[in-house]
C-alpha cells in the first residue's frame, strides 16, 4: 500500500538542517553537503505518519507531498 503521494523538497527553500533525514531515514538520506536526497517513488502507507512529522518539523517549510 502506498499513499500515492510523493515527497518533494523545494531545493531553494531547503537549508540542509537535516531534521527530515533523522525522522525519516527510510526515505531521506543526506548528500555529502548535508542536503536531503529523497528516495524516488510514492510514500509507502506505513511511513505516512513519519512523513507528516518530517514535513512539520522542517524549519524552512521546504518539504511537501505532491500528487502530480
Amino acid at each position: 500500500m502506498t499513499t500515492g503521494a510523493r515527497l518533494r523538497v523545494d531545493p531553494i527553500a531547503c537549508d540542509g538542517r537535516g531534521l527530515c533525514a533523522e525522522i525519516l531515514p527510510e526515505l531521506i538520506s543526506l548528500d555529502d553537503w548535508g542536503f536531503p536526497i529523497i528516495r524516488p517513488g510514492a510514500v509507502p502507507g506505513h511511513l505516512e505518519a513519519e512523513t507528516g512529522e518530517a514535513i512539520r518539523v522542517c524549519p524552512k517549510l521546504a518539504l511537501r507531498l505532491s500528487r502530480d
Binding site: 523545494d10 531553494i12 555529502d32 553537503w33
Partner: protein, 434 residues
C-alpha cells in the same frame, strides 16, 4: 485546388517566394547594421498580427502546431503547446528571451542586432495568439539600443496593438533560464525560482507568462505570414525549419549561420570556412552540451535525431571545434569552474556540489592527486537536484568529457598532458570577486 497555402504563396514578397531559400531570419548579404522597419516590411510583407479575431487566432495557433516549431533556446519544447497553456489563463503576458547568458553563444545577439523587427513581430504575434496586451523584450546589453530603436520605430508607425517594453538582460549564465528571466524583470534578481507554480500559470506579476527564446519568435513571425507548409519546406519531417548556429573554436571564420535542421555537422563547419586545424572533438549544444568525437560527428545531421546516437543534442545551436593540439580536459575544467561559479547559490547541491565537482575535475585535468571515485559520487549527488537544470548541465558536460577524452584522462592521471595550446579556446568571462 487552391489550398490556403497557395493563396499565401501568391501574396509572398519576392525575397521570400521560394521556401527553401536561406537565410530566412538574418538579412541576406553582408550589409552591417540592423534592418529598418521599411526594409523589413519590404522583405517579408506586412506583419501577421493585424486584426486577430477569435477564429483567426484559433486558425493561426493550429498553423503553429502544424509547423512543428520548437523552442530554440535549448529545451526544444513545442511552441504550440506552450501557446495553448498560456492562452488558457487570464490576462497573460509575453516575454521574448534574448538574455543569451551563455558566453560562447552569439546567435540571439546577432539575430536581435540584424533583424530586430522579426523578433518584435513574433513577440507581438505571440501576444495576439495568447491574448496578451503586453510583450517584454529582454535584450542582451550589447544589443539593447538596437532593440530600443526598433521598438520606437514601430511605436511611431503605430504598428502594434500590443505594448512593447524593452529590458536589458542580466549578464549571467543562469539568467537566461525562463523563471530567472521573469524574476529578473520583476525584482531585478536574475535567479531561477521554484516550480510549481509553472510560469504558464503564474509568472510575471502573477500572470500566466509565455517565455520564448527570441529566435523561436522570429520563426513564429514567418509562420504567421507564410504558413506551416512554407516553414516545413526545409529541415527534417520530425524537426522542420531552420535554426541559427554559433560556430567557434578552430574554424577559419567563427560566425553565426542559419542552417536547415539536419544539415550534416561537417557541412555546418564548412559554413565557418572549415576547420583551421585538424580537429579532435566538437562541443555541441553549448556549455550544457556534450563533447563528441570530431570524425564521428562530421556526417551526423545537426538535429536531435541525428545527434542522439552520439549522445548529444542541438541545445542552443552551438558548435565549438577543438583542435588536435588543445586539451579537452583543460578546456572542460575551465568551463566547469565557470559554471560552478555561476550557480545562483540558491540550492545546496548546486552551490556546494558543483564547486566540489569543478575542483575535483580541475585536479584531474592538471594531473594532481584526485579521485575519480569521488568525482563520480559527486556527479551522482548533484544530478537533478537543483530548482533548475544548471547542475544537470554540468554533469552532462563532464560526463561527455570523460568519455571522449578517456585516453587523455589516463595520461593525466599519470601526470602528463598532450595539449600544447594553453587552455582558453572556449570563452569564459573573468572570474567574479566573491
Amino acid at each position: 485546388m487552391r489550398t490556403p497555402d497557395s493563396v499565401q504563396h501568391h501574396g509572398r514578397p519576392a525575397a521570400m517566394r521560394s521556401a527553401d531559400r536561406l537565410p530566412r531570419l538574418l538579412p541576406a548579404g553582408f550589409a552591417a547594421g540592423s534592418v529598418s522597419l521599411a526594409e523589413h516590411l519590404a522583405r517579408y510583407g506586412p506583419a501577421p498580427a493585424g486584426g486577430l479575431n477569435g477564429p483567426r487566432r484559433a486558425a493561426l495557433t493550429e498553423e503553429v502546431g502544424r509547423s512543428g516549431l520548437t523552442g530554440r533556446g535549448g529545451a526544444g519544447f513545442p511552441t504550440a503547446r506552450k501557446l495553448a497553456a498560456v492562452a488558457a489563463g487570464h490576462a497573460p503576458v509575453v516575454v521574448a528571451n534574448g538574455t543569451e547568458g551563455e558566453p560562447a553563444s552569439a546567435k540571439d545577439k546577432v539575430l536581435l542586432a540584424r533583424s530586430p523587427h522579426l523578433v518584435l513581430d513574433g513577440a507581438v504575434l505571440a501576444a495576439g495568439l495568447v491574448g496578451a496586451r503586453q510583450a517584454v523584450i529582454v535584450a542582451h546589453p550589447s544589443v539593447r539600443e538596437i532593440v530600443d530603436d526598433a521598438a520606437l520605430e514601430r511605436r511611431r508607425a503605430g504598428l502594434d496593438a500590443v505594448r512593447i517594453r524593452v529590458v536589458t538582460g542580466a549578464d549571467r549564465f543562469v539568467a537566461g533560464e525562463a523563471s530567472a528571466v521573469v524574476h529578473w524583470i520583476e525584482r531585478g534578481v536574475p535567479t531561477p525560482t521554484a516550480t510549481p507554480p509553472r510560469l504558464s500559470q503564474r509568472g510575471l506579476g502573477g500572470r500566466p507568462t509565455l517565455v520564448q527564446n527570441v529566435e523561436t519568435l522570429a520563426h513564429l513571425a514567418l509562420i504567421g505570414r507564410y504558413g506551416a507548409s512554407w516553414f516545413r519546406a526545409v529541415g527534417t519531417a520530425a524537426e522542420p525549419g531552420t535554426m541559427l548556429v554559433t560556430i567557434l573554436g578552430a574554424v577559419r571564420e567563427p560566425c553565426v549561420h542559419e542552417i536547415a535542421i539536419g544539415t550534416p555537422v561537417g557541412e555546418v563547419l564548412g559554413l565557418a570556412g572549415g576547420a583551421s586545424a585538424p580537429l579532435q572533438a566538437l562541443l555541441i549544444g553549448g556549455y550544457f552540451g556534450r563533447w563528441v568525437d570530431a570524425s564521428e560527428a562530421a556526417a551526423a545531421p545537426l538535429s536531435a535525431a541525428g545527434l542522439a546516437p552520439l549522445g548529444a543534442g542541438v541545445g542552443a545551436g552551438l558548435i565549438a571545434a577543438l583542435p588536435d593540439d588543445a586539451c579537452g580536459l583543460a578546456e572542460t575544467a575551465r568551463v566547469a569552474r565557470y559554471l560552478a561559479d555561476e550557480s545562483a547559490g540558491q540550492c545546496g547541491p548546486c552551490l556546494f556540489g558543483l564547486d566540489a565537482v569543478a575542483g575535483e575535475f580541475q585536479r584531474l585535468a592538471e594531473g594532481r592527486t584526485s579521485s575519480l571515485a569521488m568525482l563520480n559520487r559527486w556527479l551522482g549527488q548533484v544530478d537533478g537536484r537543483g530548482a533548475c537544470s544548471h547542475p544537470d548541465g554540468v554533469v552532462r558536460l563532464i560526463s561527455s568529457a570523460r568519455t571522449v577524452f578517456a585516453a587523455e584522462l589516463e595520461q593525466h592521471a599519470q601526470g602528463w598532458c598532450c595539449g600544447i595550446r594553453k587552455a582558453g579556446l572556449l570563452p569564459v568571462p573573468p572570474r567574479r570577486q566573491p
